[in-house]
């Protein structure tokens, strides 16, 4: 669902007027352009393709510059995004060009997750822009826009059909970025094979519902060229920065023993078409589409995800504030409830522990009582025994005294016995 376009010139309150002379606001586009020139432009290209398919070379050829880069290794265990920013200048135009490379794409044995870093990177750029746009104190005019304006998808020149990795990746990307598919290393395919290959690719894309970027045909100045170029997609390109002498000219080409493939020769490859479309005709449209279609879609989804709505069932427009308020109340309610729960839990735990402790205390008390009783028992018994013992002693003593008294009386009797 694309953002609705409003034609400011269809308001009924206005009138059409003819001017009586030269007013001078026809210089307005010039003023606009000169402002943009001072601001500078930025353009971000994402190159998706297998390692070694010729992405860096093509970039060098397109922009006529040796962007410094080393060859990537084939042994990375994941896909890495490698963005690099360059400052280019041509006549009075400053361009901040960012080229994002997908390093390691297609190298892994298991490629199921290959598309994820790419999608994440694109989303991150959108997110950063959205954050900046939502800030209170924002400076959108100084903001370095990192959103990807164009994704060049490099298709390997097998001559047969698209690989499943290609289809899956392009399907994931088509709603987030403008995709232009290109056939890389096109000098390995013959003309007839190329024709069949292109048809096959386009039909596969259509049947899988992959939406690639269509060059716009609504502007009279470029309708013709754009619609004819649309028919040449995907572009079969050859990249080269080496120069070869052909005839009496020096051209960029790839030299083989059997011939020379000239990069800028339209009968050899579609490089010129790509450059024409990408840079000279549609660069501004690519930037506009990225901002007004892909970014808006992202923004809408993101805000809806966060729970913001534009209208409620009664068709009363909500504002962000009301949604925030509602959410905040909800959240505070949640918070309070949780707090209550926790407090309850705490109180309960305290009670439990208290009860336990009381139990223990009681037990101890009981034990103590018991011991005390035992102690007293023992003591009593011991007392009894002592008393018994004392009594015995007393009894013994008495008997002893009695016996002694008796023995004193006895010796007289004994003497009498002896005299007899």
């Amino acid at each position: 669902m694309a953002a609705t376009d409003v034609d400011i010139f269809s308001n009924e309150e206005k009138r059409n007027l003819s001017l009586g002379g030269h007013v001078g606001f026809d210089s307005l586009p010039d003023q606009l352009v000169s402002k943009s020139v001072t601001q500078g432009f930025c353009f971000n290209i994402l190159c998706v393709g297998e390692t070694g398919i010729g992405k860096s070379t093509l970039m060098n050829t397109l922009f006529n510059t040796m962007f410094e880069n080393e060859e990537a290794s084939h042994y990375l265990n994941g896909v890495c995004m490698r963005p690099r920013t360059y400052d280019l200048q041509e006549s009075n135009v400053h361009l901040k060009l960012t080229i994002v490379d997908t390093v390691g794409f297609g190298d892994q044995i298991n490629k199921e997750e290959s598309y994820k870093p790419i999608v994440d990177y694109i989303d991150t750029q959108f997110e950063n822009y959205l954050q900046e746009e939502l800030k209170i104190k924002r400076s959108l005019f100084n903001y370095h826009d990192g959103r990807i304006h164009i994704c060049l998808y490099f298709i390997a020149p097998t001559g047969h059909s698209l690989k499943s990795l290609d289809l899956v990746t392009m399907k994931k990307l088509d709603s987030k970025v403008n995709i232009i598919p290109i056939i890389a290393k096109a000098d390995t395919i013959s003309k007839s094979e190329l024709h069949k290959f292109k048809i096959k690719i386009m039909s596969e894309l259509v049947s899988n519902g992959v939406q690639i970027y269509q060059f716009p045909t609504d502007d009279d100045a470029v309708t013709e060229i754009n619609s004819s170029m649309n028919a040449h997609l995907p572009f079969a390109v050859v990249g080269s920065i080496e120069e070869v002498k052909v005839g009496n000219k020096t051209v960029r080409a790839r030299q083989y023993p059997w011939g020379v493939v000239q990069v800028e020769n339209e009968s050899h490859c579609d490089f010129v078409k790509l450059r024409e479309m990408l840079i000279r005709v549609n660069m501004e449209d690519l930037r506009e589409q990225t901002h007004s279609r892909h970014y808006e879609l992202y923004r809408r989804c993101k805000l809806e995800e966060m729970g913001f709505k534009d209208t409620d069932p009664d068709c009363q427009p909500f504002s962000l504030q009301e949604t925030y308020e509602a959410k905040r109340k909800e959240f505070m309610g949640d918070l309070q409830r949780k707090e209550e729960e926790m407090r309850q839990m705490f109180v309960n735990k305290v009670k439990e522990t208290e009860a336990e402790l009381k139990e223990k205390e009681r037990e101890l008390h009981n034990k103590f009582e018991q011991l005390k009783q035992m102690h007293q028992e023992e003591k009593r018994k011991v007392e009894e025994k002592r008393r018994d013992l004392e009594e015995e002693m007393n009894a013994f003593n008495r008997r002893k005294v009695a016996v002694e008294t008796l023995s004193l009386a006895q010796p007289v009797k004994k003497d009498k016995d002896k005299k007899n």
């Binding site: 308001n11 002379g21 943009s36 432009f41 006549s91 370095h144 920065i241 120069e243």
Partner: protein, 379 residues
């Protein structure tokens, strides 16, 4: 056609962007790359983007909203008609000629579609009949300020929509032309008050109306006095000093600042002067040619407003005045008395009654922290 200029390669690495993946940062020393060999393939075509941009702008069309403020009878409508060489003012369009002066200030806007050499523009002229005409003119700038803020509010609401239009209709007042009566003495308190209040929310271009009543010397001294008074009161009119971007800008703008306020004469009548038909005012003692810079400064005003600084006026409105409004609004809703809340998220209440004297929202002390958590929670 393209003359195939040699592309100058000023190649240097600029802030290798943050890659949040695990790739190591490649630090390249900035350097000049050897230019490619001579030949006609050094032209890339980047500068074609200017043409693309121009085409798109022409297709889109432009919008301009001008407000005219001043007492009745100062020639506001005539000046507008003169500026745009057609009957753009309200008086020309309304079916019943209203000669009455309204009891309160009204704000009336009227839009026109004009076209010149393929450039389409929607021009909206906002008239303020009744300004300064009452006996008690206290706070007469308030309805005007409210109107301007309402336009900002409308734009803001549109901007924070989830499903928003591809091109938000811009009804924000880009420029406010303030008409100073040609007393020849100094600014009146009403003028000072108005400009003081409004110079912070909109670009004000003061003009001396009906300047054909002043001689050149009187005109110069009047202008001098006005400039000094503006300075003394801290009123920054367009082009504002603080928004000069670079030395070139400053130079151009200084020249303009030395000439404001422009002494203008408006006319929609043409007269024969020296064999040419010119816009002017015919009097018994001569014909004042409107576009003759020896007679009045209308041409300077027109050049400033239309031919050279129109885009700049719109830019300042959208990137400075509007942003100031936006910051204030968002802070108000957040309940933060100062500057930026910790995470600076947008938070807005649809308040159609917003006016400068509204009480700020009750302080929501924990509001922002909770919102921060809500957001991270949701995300």
């Amino acid at each position: 056609m393209h003359s195939e200029p040699k592309m100058e390669l000023v190649w240097s690495e600029v802030n290798p962007s943050q890659s949040n993946m695990s790739a190591p940062q490649h630090q390249h020393p900035p350097g000049k790359v050897a230019p490619p060999g001579a030949g006609d393939f050094s032209y890339v075509g980047i500068d074609a983007i200017l043409e693309q941009m121009r085409r798109k702008a022409m297709k889109r069309g432009f919008e301009l909203n001008i407000m005219v403020v001043g007492q009745s009878g100062l020639g506001k409508s005539t000046l507008m008609n003169t500026l745009f060489k057609s009957n753009v003012s309200r008086k020309s369009v309304s079916s019943t000629p209203e000669e009455r002066i309204p009891k309160t200030i009204e704000i009336k806007s009227i839009s026109h579609d004009i076209e010149e050499k393929g450039v389409r523009m929607k021009l909206t002229v906002i008239d303020t009949p009744g300004f300064g005409d009452q006996i008690n003119n206290e706070n007469c700038w308030q309805p005007i300020m409210k109107f301007i803020n309402d336009q900002y509010e409308q734009y803001l609401q549109e901007e924070i929509n989830i499903d928003r239009k591809k091109r938000i209709p811009d009804s924000r007042v880009h420029c406010c032309i303030y008409f100073i009566p040609p007393t020849g003495h100094c600014l009146r308190p009403l003028d000072v008050e108005f400009m003081r209040h409004l110079s912070n929310v909109v670009n004000i271009v003061p003009v001396i109306a009906k300047a054909d009543t002043l001689t050149l010397e009187e005109r110069d001294s009047f202008k001098q006095t006005i400039r000094e008074e503006l300075r003394a009161n801290g009123i920054d009119v367009y082009p504002q000093k603080e928004f000069d971007e670079d030395a070139d800008d400053r130079m151009i703008n200084e020249k303009i600042r030395e000439m404001i306020p422009f002494a203008v004469v408006g006319s929609d009548q043409e007269y024969q002067v020296n064999g040419k038909r010119l816009l002017g005012r015919k009097t018994k003692w001569g014909t004042i040619e409107v576009e003759n810079i020896a007679h009045c400064e209308f041409a300077y005003l027109r050049d400033l407003l239309i031919r050279t600084h129109m885009q700049n006026i719109k830019d300042i409105t959208s990137s400075i005045h509007y942003e100031v409004y936006r910051v204030r609004r968002l802070n108000e809703s957040n309940g933060q008395p100062n500057g930026q809340p910790p995470n600076g998220q947008a938070n807005l209440q649809a308040n159609p009654q917003d006016n400068p004297q509204a009480n700020p929202q009750p302080q929501q002390a924990n509001g922002l922290a909770a919102q921060h958590q809500v957001l991270t929670h949701e995300m």
